[in-house]
Symmetry: D3
Subunit: 337 residues, 6 copies
């Protein structure tokens, strides 16, 4: 069996990339990179054959290295991905794709120009909710979809105060770009990625301002927006790191279609239809996913396939995020091109 | 005790107006009006002292008549209210205030010019949800409110097919103007009626088009919109007469504030806060309202008070509805002045 | 509108027949009959135009009478139905059809010979469970049905001790013929009335023997049987008037098919399927029936249609009951021809 | 303390036998046997003192070996048990006892003739349900038992496709002989093993035929039957490897008696009685079993006692299974001698 | 059938006495008495044959009157009962028996001296809880009872502010004498009325003091006490008209015995036992009472039987109440003789 | 960072002391003591630097040892604590403080005299219930507290039969001193440790007497008491090792205050209030404790602070226990000085 030789750049969330690659029979991890030497050493010492780097540019010079995972803070997604592509490596890039759509488009066109695979790590597609809903929706159980809501809100769920997550210059924004990005991609993927035309919304930092006084934090704590698609379909999205709510974390989604609607609530899936004149409310049995996002990336590179979460999708999501942040600032709808 | 002599114009939903007036010790019903003679006679025969009319213009000539309820199809709210005001009668007008904001403003200015009371019948304010939440919110339990959602959706809940409800020229629209109007007023009233500046949304008739083929129906069956207020606060609203959902009727509302959030679900009220460092989730005991909307109208007229649901409020809600319908048509945000 | 002139014979359960006929716009009740004069008079005095009889033979001589309901103790179903048919009247006969299949077949052939309608009052078909499941099953949601269970069991639910219900010579048996008859017909109707070929089971009176010592009672209190159909399909049925169980009354049914199974429990309906690879468990919204059994009878007679619950169905159910009682007595399987 | 020297033949399910023997202070495992050398070696390498065999005949020649567990595919239960007995070893045999009652009787008479212990591994008796119900039923809380139902059904729960489980020549049948056997023994043991006189039922492979096309599979996927006992008591049994149902696995049982009934549902136990005139519904606290089936076997051999699950019980269960399969084939009741 | 000629004195709660007497075939109401003429007239005008009085002394002079219900404010129970007894009438007296034990004993000895029936209206004994528990406890399911708790607490459940209930000189006290009296009698009756020897407790008016400022109110709003019986058994009792609690009304009771315990919660009854080594938790089916307290009184008088709720029981309960109030005042245990 | 050098005396429950000390960065365990050498060795062999003792007197001679945990059977708490104090060591003493209040006071005055820290190990204060309720109650959400109930009851939950727990000469009593002690301290701490003035109650051994016949056991199995405080506040407490109840273990508490009440049930916390006229029922989010009791002890010793669970509190609890046991014996209220 042919295997893909991969490396991981950034070993915080990248630790999960590493683990998944190690469980994938078609991948072989040959290099790891992190600027924190201690973190790097800890992982290397149990993995004798793997090379370690604190400078990703050096790592990218490894001949046998065929592909890399970019698992760095958001502001590094673009430069490191570009460097990797230019070094001839396929790239699996953490979400969000970049700091903004302009960066994302540059990444996309670079990959296309070089004929390399650039896949977004939208890992929610590879969870049980996606595995259960996708075949049903593709089979047409919802008919034509006209409205969607999607939510990912936390109570008192800020990332570590003082870290890069809360600094807009490094993260690009708060819960919208951190959590909302997942939910927007999942919903769009399920309904076939219609083209967005505009967004209107707002972001707030009223709770953060009080709680995090004195901390280096200039992101929103809550975001809400409405997105309109070319098809006329609309989507309401909310994301937060904080807010008064009954549970610590709420993940929910509603998709309204002409033949049926789906209601998701923390992984519980309900399908509402009218069958032969009888309204039915169906609980869906959660299906186990068949591959991880790493499995998928490796398989697509090896077989020369387009991966599910394309750079195109990454760009579309970034455009939506840009538009929402723009609308929040101008107080007006933002158009998406 | 002084009493107010009232009449009711339109005896379908007006039957409820009548009943409430009859239970109000300070009101005396002296006249009823409906173009359907049978319906009128049925009510008059048990009420010997009351005069009946099939022409509201004749009724408005009654000297002793001091106030009227206008409980007619939407397109008649404006002309009949104007006629009543011009005849010197105080008016309690059914929701929605009119077919559009222009009509509504004319009604408002006429009443003001004549020094007469014009109250909107936003009766949801007079239910248990309002009676329970209003004192708490007024006492500040939510702090500063920044986001609101409000929903009134039905499954297979069209008004009688073929009737005026489904004809846009008589109703002004579908579930948004019929049901959404209630929820928008209730939410705005609870949070202090901030000034709306724009709306973006869409309306759909995908289910109705199939089910009601052959019926005189040109309204939406589902509407969704985002409204932005001068304060920066945003509101997400949905309303429908049809749609696939687990229950026949869903009424829900969320109000997010800096000190607390309220979640309403079909009358169940939950208040989420952080008290002395401990997140608390409180079920609120439903409070009995102290007066009906008719009691309130009568009391305000007799005591020369401004009623709670003012013409001003009616106008604001109509502007929001106008903006949502406009946005649905243009595919762009609509500004509200 | 043409109406059907009907009479009711037997005014205990017949009171419900009467009520239903009175609410049916196409029926006109012209005669009532009961041997208990007081009971008869009580009903007649509020119904001035209706004739009363204590002898059904006299009633059957009424020219204008076109149809009768037979609502008498079981042992009278056959003789009175025969008399009515011979007098040229259409007949709606209470369940069970008769004391045994031989009587039932005589009733059926008499009606056929005279070209008159003979409908069985299997009223469970006209309830919400039937109204909900029938369209779904007819549309094929279950695929091929291979096994069915049906239950109607009571705890301490004997009919009035000492009455005809407990005397086998008048009732034909206990809960099996009283309650089981309903459930067997309902299940068979839903799955398309396959032809039964054999039954094996037993009946018991262990609880009744203790509790009803000294009372005129010689029926079973519990029955359980397995029925085999020509298609290979099997059915498990239980019925009781008494037994230790968690609830006072249990009504349940399971229908196993290749494409789906239905589970009924006290009116709650669940449909289990595998759709596009995903197991779904659907709660069905209870549908309101569109006509009562009396409406159906009247409509079928007036329009010359075969009613749903035919004499043929009545005969099949009686054959099954005969076979179960025979098996209980012989300790061996009983064949059904 | 005297110990029993035991061996295990077959190390798939036999791995559980091994584990239980190892936790039993009175047993000493001295030999293991499996035709798969790798599987055997894996277990032996952590157990230095134990001898390994790939040929059970060789193992049976070990002098010090006193008893063996036979944990092989069903078609080997009889020949291997006979060989073991003839070699003078006591035998603990996996369920089902054999391929049919004839084999089972030969095993039983051989053991009796040689004065050796032959115990069936009906391990459900040694679970919490048995430990809780047995003392209550023995104390008479149910009075006289007259009807029993028992169920073990799975949704999409086939054993590994292509293996011996699905080949009738090796397994003797499908879920009835695999799962039903457990439930039938458990129910019979609880009610005192009445003598069966006949069975009627059917087996189906409608779902398997579709799903497992191309796989070596000729067993049923669902079985349903009614069994009659000499006492007049009846038992309804179902077992399946597949079928549309709300849960992946349903285990249930009902036992109806004159003084009380027991309802089991996935281990939850409810006892319904009438006490001093008051119906009571009691939840039973699950009792921890006091010994495993291996403990029991070892203790009985060492103390010269008859084990609970006797060869006699194994034979009775096989007769019932034979009769159900016969009835399924002939379409008629099968008598049991 | 012989009937008992009865009268009712006091027509507030007495209205329920009247209703019960009217439904009792063995009673004939011949006289009614109330100082409020309007209230009296309203009841008399629909009851032509019954005599009305505003002065109970006059009523007591009626020859044919055999028995009276005393349904007056607490401070009148003693004088009116004494007057009635002296007039030769049997008496059914509302709870509490009197203002204190001294009065109660006088009533008891007077009735005994005159050979007349004096029954306490402890109507909780005649409800479903009593009807269900009494036969079970009498049959010994609890064994020896050693501890009891009983509670009747309300949230914001004051009797009409300003009425006699809140004036200690007319009521004798607050919720303890109003509500606690019911629960104490019920519990004592169920466990066989052991002899109390002491009580310790306290009463509070902390909430009432704030809420009812300005109202004529000098009773407690909450009471809690421990009572000790000669048998060593102890009882914890609480009663309130106000207090912060999750529900508007809590009624609960626990009875701990050597063979079983009973837990009551708002009418839900649970019996906990250990049967044949297995802990069982049984839900009890609520039994319908067979007679009302009025039926019981009438039957006992007519048949010359001692009624269940004797004057003796009334005296014991009054002694307990006296002791609790005394302990509250002294801050020390009060002995009961 | 300065650390405290500690030792643990008694390694049964002391094992938990050890574990907590080891996780406390400011503590260093230098010595362990147990009379059971095997138990001691097992712990020492994984802890090379720690010294082991079988005689606590020898251990107390260690110079560097600064503080000890006393985790011995109850009758040893006093003598060992005294010895440790006299050896100049700070002491963390397991609950209950001693066999009686006299011992406890001696311990307290010795510690005070020597200026050493003596802290009670009331570890329930350091659990989630305490961490959640304490800040709310301190902030005044309950207002003035007037009544408390607290319960810790087990079903069939005796400590190991035959051990010291059941011998009154070694344990001082049964569940009251073993479990009740925890609950009494927790409740008193939450409400501010009011001064107790009297107690009345009883203890029982009715179940134990039957079950534990032949075992060395002379304690109660159930205790119930009422305690009165100087403030007028009362407390009802129960504790048991056995009793018929629905669950194996019940832990509950109610605290009634003028502004709110708290209901605890097995860790679930509910706060009932009336806020702005609306009754609210709030579920409290369980807060994670910030330190263990060992952390607290170490921190207080190092920083020279008075620990939360003082010797004073230990003495008060012992006085209450003494009074309850006295009341049980005399049948009369016991005064507490």
């Amino acid at each position: 069996m042919e295997t893909l030789k991969v490396g991981v750049i950034g070993l915080r969330i990248g630790r999960q990339h590493l683990k998944n690659f190690e469980e994938c029979p078609e991948a072989e991890v040959v290099a790891l990179c992190d600027i924190d030497e201690a973190r790097l050493e800890e992982l290397l010492k149990e993995r004798p054959g793997i090379k370690g780097f604190t400078d990703y540019n050096k790592m990218l010079k490894m001949r046998e290295l065929q592909a890399v995972s970019v698992a760095l803070p958001n502001y590094l997604h673009c430069p490191v991905t570009l460097a990797a592509l230019k070094a001839g490596k396929h790239v699996l890039c953490e979400k969000p794709m970049a700091m903004n759509a302009a960066e994302a488009e540059q990444m996309k066109s670079t990959a296309e120009g070089l004929g390399l695979t650039l896949m977004m790590r939208f890992n929610m597609r590879f969870g049980a909710t996606g595995a259960t809903l996708k075949p049903l929706i593709e089979a047409g159980v919802l008919g034509e979809v006209y409205h969607v809501t999607t939510t990912y809100t936390r109570r008192d769920g800020y990332p570590k105060p003082g870290g890069w997550f809360g600094q807009k210059s490094k993260s690009g924004g708060g819960p919208l770009i951190d959590l909302g990005v997942h939910r927007i991609d999942l919903a769009l993927w399920l309904i076939g990625y219609p083209k967005p035309v505009s967004a209107m919304g707002n972001v707030y930092d009223l709770l953060a301002r009080r709680k995090l006084a004195g901390v280096d934090f200039d992101c929103e704590d809550f975001a809400a927006a409405m997105i309109r698609f070319e098809t006329g379909c609309t989507m309401y999205v909310t994301a937060s790191w904080d807010g008064h709510q009954p549970v610590r974390r709420e993940l929910s989604m509603r998709i309204y279609g002409t033949e049926g609607s789906v209601f998701e609530r923390d992984g519980q899936l309900t399908l509402c239809r009218k069958e032969h004149g009888v309204p039915t409310v169906s609980t869906l049995d959660q299906q186990k996913p068949t591959e991880t996002e790493q499995d998928h990336f490796v398989r697509c590179v090896l077989e020369g396939l387009q991966p599910g979460p394309t750079a195109e999708h990454g760009v579309i999501v970034m455009k939506i995020l840009d538009a929402i942040y723009e609308s929040a600032q101008t107080g007006r709808e933002a158009r998406i091109r």
